[in-house]
């Protein structure tokens, strides 16, 4: 089943054409690597797909709803309930403990603290970082921090995880561990993953790849 479909996306920043007729299709539960050289438009594509950034033209459909024509509050509601995000770094709230960070999305959806923290603890366990529950993000290693971020992305049971270079700041061993845990957890919960990476060994955790070059994406499987 097709979950997300983008067609004819264009996005410019001043004179830079970050996207120029980009398209991609994501089916439920699949892990898709978005590859391409630095500056090719991968992050811009991810931001447009996730409704973080409005494209200049083109459409993004999530199931049968068009993200590009929703109002801001509907779009952020969709992001909160259906999507999860993992970035390279800097996504955890430094003042909160890791447990509170993971519980935060559930608290924002109105869940009671006790229930939210129980679910959060469970996810920290699945990502094998229950040991850092009471530490603040600044006190953890890079690999632990990313696992906490993955737990936070998964805790709401999203249908799509957007991961932009999630291992970009990690060494090989920690990066592979994060990829293994992320893709295993996503497969268990049935979440699709849009994985932006320029690293082939990271992309090898995907089911298929889409290549972005000069703002144009080549979705081989769905080529028109």
């Amino acid at each position: 089943m097709t979950l997300l479909r983008a067609e004819g996306l264009a996005k410019s920043f001043g004179k830079t054409h970050a996207l120029d007729d980009a398209g991609i299709t994501i089916r439920a539960g699949e892990v898709v690597a978005v590859m391409g050289p630095s500056g090719s438009g991968k992050s811009t594509l991810l931001h447009c797909l996730a409704g973080i950034l409005p494209p200049d033209s083109g459409t993004v459909h999530y199931r049968d709803r068009e993200l590009t024509s929703m109002n801001d509050s509907a779009r952020s509601e969709l992001r909160r309930t259906e999507f999860g995000f993992v970035f390279q770094f800097g996504q955890l709230v430094p003042e909160l403990t890791c447990l509170e960070n993971v519980a935060l999305p559930l608290r924002l959806s109105g869940m009671k603290r006790k229930d939210a923290e129980r679910a959060a603890r469970d996810w920290l366990g699945r990502l094998e970082v229950d040991g850092v529950a009471d530490q603040r993000p600044g006190e953890t290693s890079g690999g632990q921090g990313q696992r906490v971020a993955v737990a936070r992305a998964l805790v709401t049971g999203p249908k799509v995880i957007f991961a932009d270079e999630p291992t970009g700041a990690l060494d090989s061993l920690n990066g592979e561990r994060v990829m293994h845990l992320l893709t295993t957890a996503a497969r268990e919960t049935g979440a699709a993953v849009v994985l932006v990476t320029h690293e082939p060994r990271v992309a090898a955790y995907s089911d298929r790849e889409v290549v972005v070059r000069d703002g144009r994406s080549r979705d081989v499987e769905f080529a028109r």
């Binding site: 050289p37 082939p200 060994r201 090898a204 995907s206 790849e209 290549v211 081989v220």
Partner: protein, 174 residues
């Protein structure tokens, strides 16, 4: 490296003598391993037998070095198929991949397509290795990692070449 395909690719530019072909091959692909004349002529006679090249005129005198060879339609089809088929992903493919890219550019075909096809084949193998690694013990992990790092090096080269295809096109067709 398939010398037959490389020679066919070079013949797409027009008929040539055997020694001429050897020179063209050595110049482009033979930097550290030039062809022997024997290799050139045995390859050409195989291509001739298979109908991939024909003799296009013989000059006075005798010996194989007098003959000019031209590629046939079957030969063109064969080059096309070769370019469109990814190499089996294994380390140290640089000569073959480089030759494919250059020959695609020389013949006005899409070198990007060649690179994309190869990338897909490499990634498919890398996925299999990653799966094996994930399910395996430490020995499996180390063995798979060795292959993965080598294939990754190939892929980095493919990326870098893809980014320089336009520049390379100018140089090889100059």
């Amino acid at each position: 490296m398939s010398i037959g395909h490389a020679l066919l690719g070079l013949l797409e530019g027009g008929p040539r003598h055997g020694y001429d072909l050897k020179r063209a091959y050595d110049e482009r692909f033979g930097h550290d391993r030039p062809l022997h004349y024997g290799q050139v002529y045995s390859t050409l006679s195989r291509l001739l037998k298979n109908g991939l090249v024909t003799e296009a005129g013989v000059e006075a005198g005798d010996g194989p070095e007098r003959k000019r060879y031209a590629i046939t339609d079957a030969g063109v089809t064969d080059v096309e198929r070769w370019l469109a088929t990814p190499e089996k992903p294994e380390p140290y493919l640089q000569n073959t991949l480089y030759a494919k890219v250059v020959l695609a550019l020389l013949s006005g075909r899409s070198a990007t397509e060649v690179l994309d096809t190869q990338r897909a084949a490499h990634l498919t193998t890398m996925r299999e290795l990653t799966r094996r690694k994930t399910d395996g013990d430490l020995a499996d992990q180390l063995i798979c990692d060795f292959a993965l790092f080598h294939l990754e090096a190939d892929l980095r080269w493919l990326e870098l070449t893809a980014a320089r295809v336009d520049q390379l096109a100018v140089e090889v067709t100059r």
